[in-house]
């Protein structure tokens, strides 16, 4: 981890750059040198030709002294190192360096080798073959060029008769020039190019280092730090998606993952809480039932005595009654802890209702409750667990009796077959954003169902918002107070992808709409304007009304306040103070939910409440066919 990815990239790319520039520099220098030497060779050849032509007359006239002086004069030029003329035998006949006149050269010597490499010497090889580069003992580099002096008719006819007509070659003019200038220029070029190469590599390295720091190291460091924070348990971590491109995408994906982890953890915590409640309830029930057995047995035993002070009797009766209430509370806890999957069978809900009524009839009469039954005659059977449904009806009847209070009142218990339009009734049991994040929030319930959590944004602030999970109902819960009638765009709270649909308009107010992916990925849309009651679930509306069997329990008691309505199906929510545990409706809701049904409550404070249980009939009709 200590060798930084940025440093590695800089080193790797720096090395490649240095190699490429080095190669380029070498090739350039070599070409440059070759060009300069070629140029110099041509110049030397021209010079050699000029010397040959200018001395031609002296040769023809055989004026050796003039020729020698001429060559000496030419040789004095600083750029010319040496000019000499060899005869055919290889002896130096004239030279700008008088000391070597008369010396003979072997045909294998470097100046002769070009033409004499083969048995029969070449008469006039091309210029680059006649040139040679060699170094003096002091290390200076020289370029020599030989120019053969061929026999001409004028030579054989000249007065000196020095050459016969059958000779083709008479000798060689050898001109040597210094390469000092060329070498100096090449050295200067090399210095310039190497300097430039080092400079470019340094600049490229710095640029790369800066880029990698900005584009790689920092985002990677942010990711690393984020991962560490998550490892340390901080799931609120988000990483700024500054890297752009893949790293930006990675940061986005990382943030989405964190959000989902956090959500999953929240759900687990919630599930764990409920499971713990179950275990706790079972444990507590066992422990509490033992002391309660002592209290109840002794108190009731005392009550059996015939001669007992009436005042004492009244006190004992309170003990027995309250102990029995404890017993009911503990049983409620156990019921909640032991919710089991329904054992479904074709069930006539009218039978269930009648059995439930016989169970609670005594209690209702004691509480001065008048019960009105309105059961439909031709109720089709539904697929249900009869004993669980009985528990539901008993719970609802006892709740209604509690709502009526001590003065009593009327409960109407009705059953019927109905067709229910989806709007206002159909629960949305699956909700996701276009990227697949689960939007259901088990931590926030509306009417017992997990709400759909979204993120709203308006006027530069963002806040969490829970949509009512029943289609067409608008008991939304906002995390913060929000103004009505403003267009507040909506995003996924986890991956922050916008849910607003660009091409869709609200049919009521014309504002843009937003949509979530409901069950089977069917889009369900709402208006982005707060307080606008527009919603549309195309696929569900298309399927139309669904046949159900309804059982409703209606009382004319005190009713439920609107803030309580959203919570009444939550476990441990109770308005009965010390007289309840808050599990009856939670158990009821759990049973209905596991039957794939719905339970709805309408209430008006001071006028009463109506609970309506609906079980889908599609399963029931299949059951009737099967029966």
């Amino acid at each position: 981890m200590r060798t930084r990815i940025g440093l590695q990239i800089v080193l790797a790319v720096g090395l490649v750059t240095a190699l490429s520039i080095g190669l380029l520099a070498t090739v350039t220098l070599r070409t440059h040198r070759q060009e300069m030497i070629a140029q110099l060779t041509r110049n030397a050849d021209l010079l050699s030709e000029t010397v040959k032509r200018s001395t031609e007359d002296y040769m023809l006239e055989n004026r050796r002294d003039r020729l020698g002086r001429q060559i000496e004069a030419i040789g004095r030029d600083q750029r010319i190192e040496r000019v000499r003329v060899f005869n055919k035998q290889g002896r130096i006949v004239f030279s700008s360096d008088a000391s070597e006149v008369g010396h003979a050269l072997d045909k294998q010597a470097e100046s002769c080798f070009t033409c004499h490499a083969q048995d029969r010497p070449l008469e006039k090889p091309p210029v680059h073959d006649r040139a040679r580069i060699f170094a003096t003992e002091s290390g200076r580099r020289l370029l020599g060029i030989v120019n053969p002096i061929q026999n001409q008719p004028a030579c054989t006819t000249a007065a000196c008769h020095a050459h016969g007509p059958d000779e083709t070659m008479l000798g060689v003019l050898d001109v040597t020039v210094s390469l000092d200038d060329v070498d100096r220029q090449i050295a200067a070029s090399r210095t310039r190019i190497v300097g430039l190469a080092i400079g470019s590599v340094a600049v490229a390295g710095l640029l790369l280092w800066w880029l990698s720091r900005r584009l790689v190291s920092r985002p990677v460091a942010a990711l690393t730090a984020g991962t560490r924070r998550i490892a340390a348990g901080d799931l609120t971590t988000t990483i700024p998606a500054t890297g752009g491109y893949e790293l930006g995408e990675l940061a986005h994906a990382f943030n989405a993952m964190t959000a989902r982890l956090s959500e999953a953890q929240r759900q687990l915590t919630q599930a764990d809480k409920l499971a713990s409640v179950g275990r706790l309830a079972a444990g507590v029930a066992h422990e509490i039932n033992n002391p309660l057995t002592g209290v109840l047995s002794y108190a009731s035993l005392l009550l059996e005595r015939a001669h007992i002070d009436p005042e004492l009797r009244a006190d004992l009766e309170v003990i027995v009654r309250e102990t029995k209430r404890c017993r009911e509370i503990v049983r409620g806890l156990l019921d909640f802890a032991r919710q089991t999957p329904p054992r479904r069978q074709p069930t006539d809900l009218n039978d269930v209702v009648r059995r439930a009524v016989t169970v609670v009839m005594n209690q209702l009469q004691l509480r001065h409750v008048a019960l009105g039954l309105d059961l439909a005659d031709d109720l089709p059977a539904v697929q249900a667990d009869p004993s669980q449904m009985e528990q539901v009806v008993v719970n609802l009847l006892l709740n209604a009796a509690d709502a009526l209070g001590e003065r009593g009142g009327t409960i109407r218990l009705a059953s019927c077959q109905a067709r229910i339009a989806p709007r206002g009734h159909e629960p949305i049991r699956h909700a996701a954003c276009p990227k697949g994040c689960d939007l259901l929030d088990v931590g926030t319930h509306v009417g017992g169902l997990a709400a759909i959590r979204i993120l709203r944004e308006h006027g530069g602030r963002e806040w969490g918002f829970c949509l009512d999970p029943v289609y067409g109902r608008f008991s939304h819960v906002s995390a913060e107070p929000c103004e009505e009638g403003v267009v507040a765009p909506v995003a996924c709270p986890q991956c922050r992808v916008t849910l607003v649909e660009p091409d869709s308009k609200c049919e009521r107010c014309g504002a843009s709409t937003f949509a979530i992916c409901g069950p089977d990925d069917e889009p369900i849309r709402w208006c982005t304007r707060t307080g606008c009651h527009f919603t549309w679930w195309e696929a569900r509306e298309h399927r139309g009304a669904a046949p159900v069997v309804e059982v409703s329990v209606e009382d004319n008691g005190r009713g439920i306040s609107s803030e309580h309505l959203a919570k009444i199906f939550e476990p441990f929510f109770t308005t009965k103070g010390t007289r309840g545990v808050g599990l009856g409706l939670a158990v009821t809701w759990g049973i209905i939910e596991s039957h794939g049904g719905t339970i709805e409550v309408e209430s008006e404070q001071g006028r009463g409440s109506r609970f309506t249980v609906r079980l889908p009939l599609a399963a029931a009709e299949q059951a009737r066919d099967a029966a």
């Binding site: 039932n289 033992n290 309660l292 057995t293 002592g294 047995s297 002794y298 035993l301």
Partner: protein, 130 residues
Amino acid sequence: MNECDVLVIDDEPVVRDAVRRVLQAHGLRVATAEDATSGLSHPALAGCRLVLCDLMLPDRSGTEVLQEILRRYPSLPVVLITGYATRDEARLALEAGAVDFLAKPFEAKELMESVQRALAGRPATQEEEA
């Protein structure tokens, strides 16, 4: 000395004492044991007319005690007592051969009704299953 009518097996002292008080108040002779081992080896077991046994004992379950008693004394009625009151447990207890099932906490009257029924040899099956 060992003559008794009912043997009560329960690990909870308050339950043992309360049950003994109620039964003695109704003229029954009671012996008690605090776990399955001492209950099954209790000298009163052979001569008693009824056993009341808790479903959850520290060493063995009440159902095992019930089966052991029925193996040794097939005609001895056993009533199971439990702190977990569910229909399923009641059904399982009765299927295992108990004559009745009593959910804690109970009133003296409820206890005596169950005991009288068991001593009279009338099983409570139909009523519990209703």
